[in-house]
Amino acid sequence: MSDMIAISSPKGSHLSRIWVIALHAFTQLVRMKVFYFLAVFAVIAIASNFFDLPQHEGPESVGVNVLRSIKSWSLGTMTLFSMVLSIVATALLLPKDVEDRTLYTILAKPVPRFDYLAGKLLGVILLVFVSLALMDVLMTAVLHIRTSIVLEQQLAMAQAQSWPQDAIQSLRQETALHGPSWSLQGAVFAVFLRASIMASLSLLISTFSTSTLFTTIVSFMVYFIGHFQADARDAYLQAGHAGEGMIGRILSLLMSLVLPDFQNFNVIDAVIEGQTMPMLILAKMTLVGLYYAVFYTIASWYVFAEKEF
């Protein structure tokens, strides 16, 4: 690698410069009015109250489907918005700076290229974090109110049918699992981690791509690959095509190291079903998220450091 990436000691710290660029990218995106989508989310979160699917369970589970629907629609919308935001915003920022020549004015200051890249990425991640936090508050509020209503309905039904106290207590506990919980917050965090991975991957693609459209399309393709690559790998290895060969195993391992593997993130579906998210899974997801984000950022730097403008 050439001297171009050599980081010496310009005035101001790396962290402060990264933070300045991150805040600037955040402001830039906010002023593009990206938060308008929150109104759409609010409509979806409230409308999901009325998506009461026909139920086949007993009367004791009355209303639980609605709680599941609220979580499912909310987390689905959060995934969609966070993914679109992280990919499109990242794909947009770099080419726009090059096209407008603002990149020249920034790199002509004592700003190492790594600081510029890390700042842009952090700005997008900050935007995704704030967006998800706002959506989370809205979802939790809607879910809290609806859970209280469901609990009241169930209590009235149980009392009308003269249920014993311990059975009522058990039903309340079971219903409460479908309400706001730490596992649900864990699921939102998983959505955030997945979006952060995709933002850093888009950053890498945009360092060598020539257009925003190319970066966006490739990023979405990799996102879908990330969801089925674990299954494809298992099927490939178990089918005996490469299971015996060392090369096949190494190749599949390399693929999972380079392309994101979202298998662990399937836990979000379990949380929607009211299951508790184990701490171990949460820790594993965090480590996987960090690994991919750091790996893609370093790879982006490697490409960007050699780039000429």
């Binding site: 300045v20 600037h24 020249y104 004015t105 790199l107 004592p110």
Partner: protein, 287 residues
Amino acid sequence: MNQTTPAVEIKNLVKDFKTSFRNQTLRAVDDVSIRIMPGEVYGLIGPNGSGKSTTMKALLGLVVPTSGQCAIFGMDSLKVDSRNDVGFLPENPYFYKHLSGAETLRFYGKLCGLKGKVLEARVSELLALVDLEGARDRRLGGYSKGMLQRIGLAQALVQEPRLVILDEPTAGVDPVGSRQIRDLILKLKERGITVFLCSHLLEQVQEVCDQVGIVFRGKMVKEGRLDDLIAIEDQTEIVLKDASPELIAQITALVANSAGTTLLHTGKPRTTLERLFLRETTPTDPS
């Protein structure tokens, strides 16, 4: 830093680009050497595509030389440190339209490590210098071309650099805006700031530059002190005010009687079209 250390030292710079057509090599800069001493204003002139912008980009580390070296105040320009002492205004910059003038300067100032009261004072000082105090809170999306160039010049100066690199600073700007930018360059010169200017507006270069280099097809074809380059050694100019026709006749007769001297031309000096434009379009004080 020693005053004898050149502000800019480009030695035998060569820059080749690969073209997309058959991967052929295009030589954009061919063995160019430039030396600019502190406090000088240097104008690099040449037709479009002659390698002026590439030379400046190499000096800023935006492109890596194929061969040769570039240094700013003795520091290798590929090192980030060298950018502590340089401000750059690229050709036709857009900047961030969502920021106001003051926010733009704050952003660039923070990138250079300025903060707090020092930064605020610097922002106000620069807005006053480029005459944009009235537009400090207006977003850049509403700025005219001339205002954008001036805010661009202000961001280039934010960390008080000793060297300012200006790539076509008056491109697309009307004569009044162009004049303002030229006056700003002269102010920088008065402050002892080194200016490396690239333009194809020759009259402007002539007015502000001490040294000039002419590049053509990537090569430096002429370089030196402006006065030396444009002086016509065997001619002398005398400009008189309120001279009577009799005096002119006497001078003409005197020259005719002098052996070896030829009178080439007499007449009234002409103003430039630019001066005429400025005189007619600058509002006059009614009082």
